[in-house]
């Protein structure tokens, strides 16, 4: 979608009254990406809902027999009820909390480990690079989803564990991305200049190279959040997701076997997962265009 729109970089001379920082320019370019802006709005709404879920949920998400079993969506229960008469609307609001936090933390873990490993491999090169990259290859050689299943099945299934596991199994691709950036950036003149005035390795990597490698890292983080939400919901669908409070995926799984009786139990959480991931993908795409207009 986005790649289909020609990126016309207007001259910025007309708006010289304001100071133009890198971020203001990025925001200026991002704003012109219509789908990304709509998606950003959707995500902000979803995160707000997740934050205030305890205050706006009409019922306790875990309370049973609040209404009749399998009540279809209506005035009293906007999203219907489930097999134990729990209010699905309240459960969905709380589910937003679980699903969005899982996505955020898992992607965070993945990108932080990936950045540290990738930076070390790319900056130092040689043996360090070889060893770290071989480790990445080993992890990537196992089909990700199966590796994930193995680990999730073995450890206690708390929300924190699931976040960590998704992060720990997906960092190698981030490491490769960051390594590539560092490999090319470490040859730049400004790095040479920093080194010549006696800057330490830690200073060069943190303050000189990393900021210049940020664009792809930010884009990748955005896409990773959507990916992590999708992964958690796939796990949940198999019966290995976060259940207290249930994520959207676990809610969908709860309606899996009563599809003919209560299709809303599958359709509503499913649609929410789909829209959230779609929104993250659009924002990621918009950011890619905005952060680096040369990349098309």
């Amino acid at each position: 979608m986005t790649t289909a729109q020609p990126q016309v970089t207007k001259p910025y001379t007309g708006m010289s009254t304001k100071e133009e920082t890198f971020w203001s320019l990025t925001w200026y370019r991002f704003r012109r990406h219509k789908m990304a802006m709509i998606s950003l709005a959707i995500l902000l709404i979803l995160y707000t809902i997740a934050l205030i879920a305890p205050y706006i949920a009409p019922h306790d998400p875990m309370d049973i027999h609040i209404g009749p079993r399998f009540a279809p969506p209506g005035r009293e229960f906007p999203a219907g009820t489930d097999r134990l008469g729990r209010d699905l609307y309240s459960r969905l609001l709380w589910g937003a909390r679980t699903s969005l936090s899982v996505g955020f933390v898992a992607a965070g873990v993945s990108i932080v480990i990936g950045t540290i490993v990738g930076a070390a491999a790319g900056y130092f090169g040689g043996v360090v690079d070889d060893v770290l990259m071989r480790i990445c290859e080993v992890i990537m050689a196992i089909p990700t989803f199966f590796l994930l299943l193995t680990v999730v099945a073995i450890f206690e299934r708390s929300m924190l564990n699931i976040m960590l596991v998704i992060g720990f199994t997906t960092w190698p691709s981030a490491a490769r991305l960051v390594r590539g950036q560092f490999l090319s950036l470490r040859e730049m003149d400004y790095v040479e200049a920093a080194r010549s005035i006696g800057a330490k390795n830690s200073r060069i990597t943190m303050w000189h190279i990393l900021p210049n490698a940020m664009a792809p890292i930010i884009v990748s983080t955005t896409l990773r959040i959507g990916g992590a939400i999708l992964t958690e919901s796939s796990l949940a669908f198999i019966g290995l997701g976060v259940t207290s409070p249930p994520s959207w995926g676990s809610l969908l799984e709860g309606g899996r076997h009563t599809l003919t009786v209560a299709p809303w139990m599958v359709m509503i959480p499913g649609a929410l997962i789909f829209v959230t991931i779609l929104a993250y993908n659009f924002v990621g795409d918009g950011l890619r265009d905005a952060l680096d207009p040369r990349l098309k």
């Binding site: 959507g226 796939s234 003919t260």
Partner: protein, 323 residues
């Protein structure tokens, strides 16, 4: 070329050793041993549990267990299932045809549909066709497979007569007893839903990839040269550009196959497709370590082989690459 392949094989071997170590370590970290798990369900005494552990060698030190396992695997023996007592390799072997059957047909359709769409999208960049194709691909990438499967079950299978939602073939229907057509139609009825889900899931990525690759080729200098010397647009696009744009697609094939293997776990569990994915899920829920390890190893072997084949194909199709 020969030396290159040998080098790659050695590299692959090291990779597999790494995978086995990793899998073994993860399983060792598991709290709650197999003996505990079985013991609990059978009300076993402490002594009986100890016997159970000794029987499977689970009371040995870690490195002894690992070494024993490696020795077995080197002889093509993945051990016996801790649950059913049957050789793991046999269990996987009887499930593998169903998975490969489903995945090969899926890959065929994915490539058959995705390549033309990607190519046309690139050639007619920014046309309405391109816009619709890229937008649909975007939607497809965000669609969770299980949700799409549930939608298909609800809106198609439950409304259309003759589309079963579970299984691979009608029970009792033996291909020896019926005509080919009957057999074919029966198989087709069962495969249509899982196939649709896998194909539409896999399409999105490949369409975008093909489009990008083709665009890249079209913008090369040799295409301008080809046009400048007056070749027809058809020859320029479908001979000069297309051939070169297919190179990265070849490499993607290796990843596609192993990716589908992991993804088929979800699909197989939804449609009760009797493949390795279902077996894997059962193994995970029962902590059948031997089966889990075998599954990880086979997954890794397939990926490593896939990449190896892709690399070799790459050399074959691109004469510029020399080793």
């Amino acid at each position: 070329m020969g030396r290159y392949i040998v080098g790659r094989l050695i590299q692959a071997l090291f990779l597999l050793v790494g995978v086995s170590l990793l899998t073994f370590t993860i399983i060792q970290m598991a709290p709650g041993s197999f003996a505990e798990l079985v013991g609990e369900s059978q009300d076993a005494t402490v002594e009986e549990k100890a016997n159970l552990s000794a029987m499977y060698g689970l009371d040995q030190p870690v490195h002894v267990q690992y070494w024993r396992w490696v020795q077995q695997v080197a002889r093509g023996n993945f051990g016996r299932s801790l649950i059913s007592g049957r050789p793991v390799l046999d269990m996987i072997k009887e499930r593998l045809p169903a998975t490969i059957f489903l995945n090969l047909i899926s890959i065929f359709f994915i490539y058959l549909i995705a390549l033309p769409i990607g190519i046309i999208s690139a050639v007619k960049q920014y046309s309405w066709f391109d816009h619709i194709a890229t937008f649909t691909a975007f939607l497809g990438q965000a669609m969770p497979t299980f949700f799409f499967a549930m939608l298909l079950i609800y809106y198609v299978a439950l409304r259309v007569e003759g589309i079963p939602i579970a299984g691979m073939a009608t029970i009792g229907l033996d291909y020896k007893d019926v005509t080919f057509m009957t057999w074919f139609i029966d198989r087709a009825r069962y495969i249509i839903l899982p196939l649709t889900v896998i194909v539409l899931g896999g399409l999105a990525g490949l369409v975008r990839f093909m489009r990008a690759s083709m665009l890249d080729a079209i913008n090369q200098d040799y295409i301008r040269t080809a046009r400048a010397k007056g070749l027809s647009e058809r020859v320029v696009i479908y001979k000069h550009a297309l051939r070169n744009s297919l190179l990265p697609i070849v490499t993607a094939l290796g990843f596609t196959f192993s990716g589908l293997l992991g993804g088929s776990i979800v699909i197989e569990s939804i449609f009760a497709w009797p493949g390795v994915g279902l077996l894997a899920i059962q193994a995970i829920f029962t902590r059948d370590y031997q089966v889990i390890m075998a599954f990880n190893m086979i997954g890794a072997i397939m990926l490593v082989l896939g990449m190896l084949i892709a690399d070799i194909l790459y050399v074959v199709v691109d004469p510029r690459i020399k080793y």
